[in-house]
């Protein structure tokens, strides 16, 4: 439903009016956090809005949604308020929703519009759905406000530069950082960790020769950097296992990373596949081959993508496949995971450090 445009000075009064009109209904106002979303592309704004809806269904929060209309040349600032239903039941849980749209030089006014509407005593989570390298005038003021700054590396084209930005951000700010793509591959990280949890399995992992990762390269209007999750997964493994990056070959659609461990070469290849039914960027399968020609194959069931089979085979034997269930990765699921994360993930920081001095990674997209 379109929201009526009102002057910024009327935001509080309009919220009061809405809540007065809801008096006597079974609606209950709730806020666990202040959730501030920032995006600039129109197509992406719709996607981010669906994510914000998913988040408030888990964590009812006051949402402040900022959209920068980069196609508009003149200065403008439009605000509106509404309420979002978080859940229904005996009593419907409803959250405040404040929308701020601006263009041109009005960006300077935006922080002043936000500030009076932050709910005191509640954490402030900023979801920055754009490249932090864009030098948006909103970036610094929001950074100062927030307790956790959640980035979406999907919006980024140069991962090395992105890593440098985030590390500098972390260095200069007490605020925690997170990344939606890091959250999106959490199930894979857990699966690999549990599979290689024992000493004996870990030794096999350390003995890896080849890794092949298949990802869904199907793009949408709002999701086009489909390789990022696969790059993150291989980067995380290498960073945690202490493998040294040697080179990168980018041929057609295939991306091959060469690493070194104990003077042995490890080759990691990323292959695209196109599946309309899967989410863009989703990792479809991971295959590991060790020096002893043992194979660990993990693959999603394409008709039930949250179910993953794990097969282990050697030259002599082939184990029964094991099934692993990923939590159904609804839109917003990764954001919820990132919100719940305690502090900043140390593994994510390791990953950023791993990426920061590899300009080759900017070729990845």
């Amino acid at each position: 439903m379109p929201i009526d445009i009102i002057p910024p000075s009327e935001i509080q009064a309009e919220l009061t009016r809405i809540w007065d009109s809801l008096e006597g209904t079974n609606k209950m106002r709730a806020s666990l956090f202040n959730l501030v979303f920032y995006t600039k592309k129109k197509a992406r704004a719709e996607y981010i809005k669906t994510i914000s809806q998913k988040v408030i269904e888990k964590f009812p929060s006051r949402v402040i949604f900022i959209t920068n209309d980069t196609e508009k040349e003149e200065d403008s600032l439009e605000t509106g308020v509404s309420v979002l239903a978080a859940s229904s039941g005996e009593c419907d849980i409803v959250c405040d929703y404040i929308e701020i749209g601006y263009s041109g030089g009005s960006s300077e006014r935006v922080p002043f519009v936000i500030l009076p509407h932050i709910l005191p005593d509640l954490p402030i989570y900023v979801i920055w759905a754009e490249d932090p390298a864009d030098n948006s005038p909103l970036f610094e003021p929001l950074k100062k406000l927030s307790d956790r700054f959640i980035f979406d590396s999907e919006a980024v084209s140069d991962l090395a530069a992105f890593a440098q930005h985030l590390l500098a951000f972390k260095e200069n700010s007490p605020c925690n950082i997170a990344d939606l793509n890091w959250g999106r591959m959490e199930s894979w990280r857990n699966l690999l960790t549990s599979t290689f949890y024992t000493k004996e399995r870990l030794a096999r992992l350390r003995n890896t020769k080849n890794i092949q990762i298949l990802y869904n390269a199907e793009e949408t209007d709002f999701y086009c950097h489909t390789r990022v999750q696969a790059i993150y997964l291989q980067g995380w493994l290498c960073a945690q296992l202490g493998w040294t990056f040697k080179s990168l070959k980018n041929e057609k659609e295939k991306l091959t990373f060469f690493y070194e461990r104990d003077e042995q070469e490890v080759v990691i290849t990323l292959y695209p596949e196109w599946h309309e039914t899967l989410k863009s960027g989703t990792i479809i399968s991971v295959d590991l081959e060790t020096e002893d020609q043992e194979h660990f194959s993990f693959g999603r069931d394409l008709s039930n993508p949250h179910i993953v089979s794990m097969r282990f085979s050697t030259l002599e034997k082939c184990d029964m496949p094991l099934k692993y269930v990923f939590s159904k990765d609804d839109s917003g699921g990764s954001l919820v995971k990132e919100i719940c994360h305690k502090g900043t993930s140390s593994h994510y920081i390791n990953l950023l450090n791993f990426f920061k001095d590899k300009p080759e990674f900017s070729l990845c997209e």
């Binding site: 709730a30 857990n190 960790t193 549990s194 949890y197 029964m320 099934k323 269930v325 993930s345």
Partner: protein, 511 residues
């Protein structure tokens, strides 16, 4: 120990060893209503290890497929996630098996051993076992002994390649002597670290939140003592009767079924000192100290500090219901209690002189479990109306249903006069967190697989609680009540319980 390079310390994901869960009494009510739905929910949410299998052990003859079908039906009926997700079920059902045997039959355990080894080969479960004894307590020792004889319980050593654990359901004995005897018997076959005594109350999110509430909020803990608190009320009320469990109730009664375990657990969590850390033993050490500090009942207390009751016919939710003595499989002259209220004192520095009032009952007006902390009146020099003190602050922690916390504070009514009105600040769990909390059994089964016994009762907790309550049972046995039934179904219990409170100048909280 060096950290695993792929494991991020402090992150919520917990890694669980491959294992097989064997449920004894697999055709019983608990398996269908709670255990299999809990395991299914864990599978659905990807929390089980991929190398996992479930084996149902019972005496009825049935095939694996029949057992799977029955369990699917049960999940569809009782799971918080229903209907069954067919894609998940297709895989998960192939990890469910049935093993027919009588509990005392040695041969059955030898066959079980072979079968489990076969499953180890198929599922990579590495010999790790959780045995869930969802049976009558009289089988606990027999099953443990037979498992031990069949080599299915391994010595509890750190360097053992595989582990075995045993979960038992309450009651853990029916009095102090039998609890000691049971423990002695079990210890012939298992170590204390291998025994997981389940009290499903401890698996409830709101009960776990008690520790967070107390020790992660400085404002409450500083007031949590006899200087500021007047008294504490703990209520475990149920609107239902005993249903079809007449035979069980005739043996047990409410003191054994609810007070000795659930209520004592709630009491110890409310009253315990902060543990030195959150390890299983540190938390349970503090809980035990509370139980050990409870003042034992003296002879006169049986008249003044403990009330027992039994429900008569009446109305619950507008429906006429039978009295206890008219329930199926109940002696028409039964003296079994379906209600208990008591006043306890904890003789330690923090709680000296502060009464803890406990009440639990069947066929009360509603189902409600709550802990209410009544604070003392402020000095009465201000805001007294005609010498009348206004209401005290009450912090109510609702365990079920409508989980949450409410704080009653006094507030000035707007206007030129200054009448003071109590108002309520209310936090409701369900309203704030959109996600449905896991069932208690989900958490507890998972914890056992991980070897985390924090939320399970330790031997000394059980024994301390029995030590306190066994004299009550003995006294009741020798002095039958002369007033049973003494409360109508659909009321808050016998008048004697109200009298106990009014004698102290207090009253029970109306829930």
């Amino acid at each position: 120990m060096t950290a695993h390079p792929l494991e991020e310390i402090g992150v919520s994901s917990r890694f669980i060893d491959p294992c097989i869960l064997v449920i004894f009494g697999a055709t019983g009510d608990l398996t269908a209503r709670k255990l299999l739905p809990a395991i299914y929910n864990l599978a659905l949410e990807g929390q089980l290890p991929s190398q996992f299998a479930v084996v149902g052990f019972a005496r009825r003859d049935k095939s694996h497929d029949q057992f799977r079908e029955e369990m699917k039906e049960a999940i569809n009926k009782f799971s918080r996630n229903k209907p069954v997700d067919e894609a998940i079920w297709k895989n998960f059902s192939q990890q469910i098996f049935y093993h027919r045997s009588e509990f005392p039959d040695e041969e059955g355990y030898i066959r079980l051993s072979t079968f489990l080894k076969d499953l180890d080969g198929r599922f990579g479960t590495k010999g790790n076992r959780v045995y869930y004894l969802s049976t009558q307590p009289r089988f606990f020792t027999t099953i443990s002994e037979k498992l031990h004889q069949a080599g299915l319980i391994y010595p509890d050593k750190e360097d053992s390649p595989s582990w075995s654990r045993l979960i038992i359901e309450k009651p853990f004995g029916h009095d102090s002597d039998s609890a000691i005897a049971l423990q002695k018997e079990l210890l012939q076959f298992l170590s204390e670290d291998q025994i997981f005594r389940i009290d499903h109350y401890l698996g409830k999110e709101t009960v776990q939140n008690l520790l967070v509430f107390r020790f992660a909020n400085s404002i409450f803990e500083s007031l949590w003592n006899n200087r500021y608190i007047d008294h504490v009320q703990i209520t475990v009320g149920e609107d239902i009767g005993i249903g079809r469990r007449g035979a069980f109730w005739e043996e047990a009664g409410l003191l054994r079924d609810i007070v000795q375990n659930h209520m004592m657990q709630l009491l110890s969590l409310v009253a315990m000192e902060p543990p030195v850390n959150l390890s299983a033993d540190a938390v349970r050490d503090e809980k035990v100290k509370v139980l050990q500090a409870i003042r034992p009942f003296q002879e006169e207390d049986f008249k003044t500090s403990i009330v027992r009751g039994q429900y008569d016919s009446g109305f619950v939710d507008g429906e006429e219901v039978r009295g206890y003595r008219s329930e199926d499989n109940v002696d028409p002259n039964s003296n079994v209690e379906t209600y208990v209220a008591m006043r306890l004192f904890i003789d330690n520095w923090r709680w000296h002189g502060i009464p803890f009032y406990l009440r639990g009952g069947k066929r009360l007006p509603k189902r409600a479990t709550e802990i209410a902390i009544y604070f003392k009146h402020p000095p009465g020099v201000l805001f007294q109306e005609h010498g009348k003190q206004h209401e005290t602050n009450v912090l109510a922690i609702r365990i079920q249903p409508d989980e949450g916390t409410a704080l009653k504070i006094n507030c000035k009514v707007p206007g030129p006069a200054s009448p003071i009105q109590p108002v309520k600040m209310d936090f409701r769990y369900g309203s704030y967190f959109g996600m449905s909390p896991p069932e208690a059994y989900e958490r507890l089964i998972l914890d056992c697989m991980m070897g985390d016994s924090t939320l399970f009762a330790r031997e000394d907790e059980v024994l301390s609680s029995w030590r306190l309550l066994t004299p009550v049972l003995e006294t009741w046995k020798t002095t039958p009540p002369d007033c049973f039934p003494n409360y109508k179904s659909g009321t808050w219990g016998p008048k004697l319980a109200e009298d106990m409170m009014s004698h102290d100048g207090r009253k029970w909280r109306l829930l």
